[in-house]
């Protein structure tokens, strides 16, 4: 028997009221941002979620993390139904699931130095001594490829890729088992994107993390995900092993997305030259 998945989502839905008018907002109707979706995520697995803007990807992320209440459906984390948890009980689970956002600029408090930013989840979830926090911050910075001395510096002193590393270090601080990555590399140049994707991959191998990886970039999802779910208008229209989905997309919308993906592969002398570069 295979072990139970880390995350099980069943018939999850979330509706939002559509309101018009500024002073006396009247409810005009409802939008189903997430509409009856089900999926599972195993330990050490990456499930990619792709879909166009507004398809419900980020809403799914917030529901899974219990940052937003569902209108219907259930969420099980490590075998426990967390759908209706609140207070202390919910906080125990919050430690085990973290999020990394798209915008490395907006997601870090500019008034806190990097050490304080990374120590925040530790203070919340892992009571300990100041010296202990400092040691752990240094360890986390090293883990994401930054120097421990950089703990005293502020977010504006870092590049986009470095800020994203800081965001990842903060997410790792409380030793989560699940990390929801909401467009973690979309704001970055391909070169820096590759650095961050490599980091996420190495961390998964070392720590056995599960990733729910949201992106609108099909090439990225193909590279990182074991399985992919395609969302459209709040629904999962197709879900499969990554290579199977890319080889034979069943849904028309998935085919449309794939057709829009630029497909240029290196060849000829470039392949030899890359080999030289890889040897350094």
């Amino acid at each position: 028997m295979s072990p139970r998945p880390l995350l099980e989502v069943e018939h999850l839905s979330r509706r939002f009221a559509i309101r018009r008018g500024l002073v006396f907002a009247r409810k005009m109707g409802e939008v189903a941002a997430v509409d009856d979706i089900s999926f599972t995520l195993a330990r050490g697995e990456t499930l990619g979620i792709v879909g166009e803007s507004g398809s419900g990807k980020s809403t799914t992320a917030r529901l899974v993390l219990r940052l937003l209440d569902p209108s219907g459906g259930r969420i099980h984390f490590d075998g426990t139904d967390i759908t209706d948890l609140s207070g202390v009980a919910l906080r125990r689970f919050r430690r085990r699931m973290q999020i990394v956002f798209q915008d490395p600029f907006a997601s870090l408090d500019p008034r806190q130095n990097v050490g304080e930013i990374i120590a925040e989840p530790l203070r919340l979830h892992r009571p300990g001594s100041e010296a202990g926090y400092r040691a752990r911050v240094a360890e986390l910075l090293a883990l994401v490829g930054l120097a421990p001395e950089q703990a005293r510096r502020y977010p504006h002193e870092f590049s986009g890729g470095q800020r994203q590393r800081i965001g990842i270090a903060r997410a790792l601080a409380a030793e989560p088992e699940l990390i929801v990555c909401d467009e973690p590399v979309s704001a970055l140049d391909v070169s820096i994107q590759a650095q961050v994707l490599n980091l996420l991959r190495d961390l998964q191998q070392r720590l056995g993390l599960s990733y729910l990886f949201i992106t609108h970039d099909l090439a990225v999802v193909r590279h990182v995900a074991h399985r992919v779910a395609v969302m459209r208008r709040g629904k999962i229209v197709e879900m499969d092993e990554t290579e199977a989905l890319f080889a034979a997309p069943r849904d028309e919308y998935t085919r449309h997305l794939l057709a829009a993906m630029p497909a240029v592969a290196p060849g000829g002398k470039v392949v030899e030259r890359l080999a030289v570069l890889a040897r350094g």
Binding site: T46, E52, S53, S159, G160, G161, Q162, D189, V190, S191, I192, Q193, A194, Q195, L197, N198, R201, D202, H216, D217, L218, A219, V220, R222, H223, V224, H226, T242, E243, F246, H256, L257, A259, A260, M261, P262, A263, V264, A265, P266, G267, G268, K269, V270, E272, R273, L274, V276, L277, A278, R279, G280
Partner: protein, 328 residues
């Protein structure tokens, strides 16, 4: 025939500390023929936008063009008086930017804004003729039901439609050169493909030349005839778009190619370029790419490499190229 645009030795700079100048574009040579597309790629901060603003005569002060020439259809732009440059911008060179929402005025209908663009370079046209022209402009960029959409405000349109409106405004003067700075970066993949296809179609229809700026090598090789790769204010490689993915010489270009995941070897480490683009105030000595280059050797730090030709249409700024001959 002379190229439409010929840039030589261009240096664009901002004042630095203690009286010095910091070059953000430093010795750029480029040429573009009529009806052709040149793609400019490079990481953010490499000087792509400053290059395009230099051509437009829109370098934000206190920045300025410190040296070099920009010849457009025989005219030297860097010494052109301001009113003449403004007129040229309205009629012959147009530009579209990355974020269509910030370039459109939220308080006016898109019709009013297109009419303003048309009226800016056309004297005395009757109001209903202008309105008809604006509707035709929307039709040209394939906005459905243009006679009704013309009275919409920007927030009523999707991101892709807003970019179509920007293109309609840019093309309303029938420019000879369209500069597009990251025109699809903020859009979904499917919408991005639609906008790029539209730009290609409009280019075929009008015969305009394009300077397409992007940080996405795939987009640029898809769209352009020639590609110029920029790093730290300089062009480090120039090559035909069609052969870039098979013939690229420069370690930086190769690094950009290797960074983007392209199927195959899923979940393996990507061959990333470590580090990041240097600030103009901290330009490395010698080859500006050396701190990030896997192939750097002492000679790369001692002297700056010059651009060298590799075949009739390709050139690269690397002293070790061609690198497939480097022994393991």
């Amino acid at each position: 025939m002379d190229p439409l645009l010929q840039i030589s030795g261009l240096r664009t700079a901002f004042p630095g500390e203690n009286g010095g100048e910091l070059a953000v574009v430093d010795g750029v040579d480029l040429s573009l023929a009529r009806g052709q597309t040149i793609g400019i790629v490079g990481e953010s901060g490499s000087g792509k936008s400053m290059l395009s603003l230099s051509v437009m005569g829109l370098v934000p002060p206190p920045g300025r063009i410190a040296a070099g020439e920009i010849r457009f259809d025989g005219q030297e732009l860097t010494r052109l008086p301001r009113p003449a440059m403004r007129a040229l911008r309205g009629r012959r060179i147009a530009m579209i930017f990355q974020e269509p929402m910030t370039s459109l005025n939220p308080a006016h209908t898109i019709g009013a804004q297109i009419i303003e663009a048309i009226a800016a370079h056309e004297r005395a046209t009757a109001p209903d003729a202008l309105r008809r022209r604006a509707i035709a402009a929307l039709e040209r960029v394939r906005i459905p039901d243009p006679a009704r959409r013309i009275d919409d405000y920007p927030h009523q349109l999707s991101g892709g439609q807003r970019q179509r409106v920007m293109i309609a405004m840019a093309l309303s003067c029938n420019p000879d050169l369209l500069i597009a700075d990251e025109p699809t970066t903020a859009l979904d993949v499917t919408v991005q493909a639609e906008i790029l296809t539209l730009l290609k179609t409009l280019q075929r229809e009008t015969g305009m030349a394009m300077m397409l700026i992007s940080h996405d090598l795939g987009v640029v090789t898809d769209m352009a005839d020639t590609v110029a790769v920029m790093y730290a204010g300089q062009v480090v490689e120039r090559a035909p778009a069609a052969t870039l993915f098979t013939m690229a010489e420069h370690p930086y270009t190769l690094g950009l190619i290797a960074s983007a995941p392209r199927g195959g070897a899923a979940r393996e480490r990507l061959l990333a370029i470590e580090g990041s683009v240097p600030a103009p105030s901290a330009m490395p000595a010698g080859c500006r790419f050396h701190p990030r280059c896997a192939l750097a050797e002492p000679a790369c730090i001692a002297a700056a490499p010059a651009m060298r030709a590799f075949g009739p249409e390709q050139a690269a700024r690397c002293r070790r190229a061609p690198i497939e001959s480097i022994a393991a």
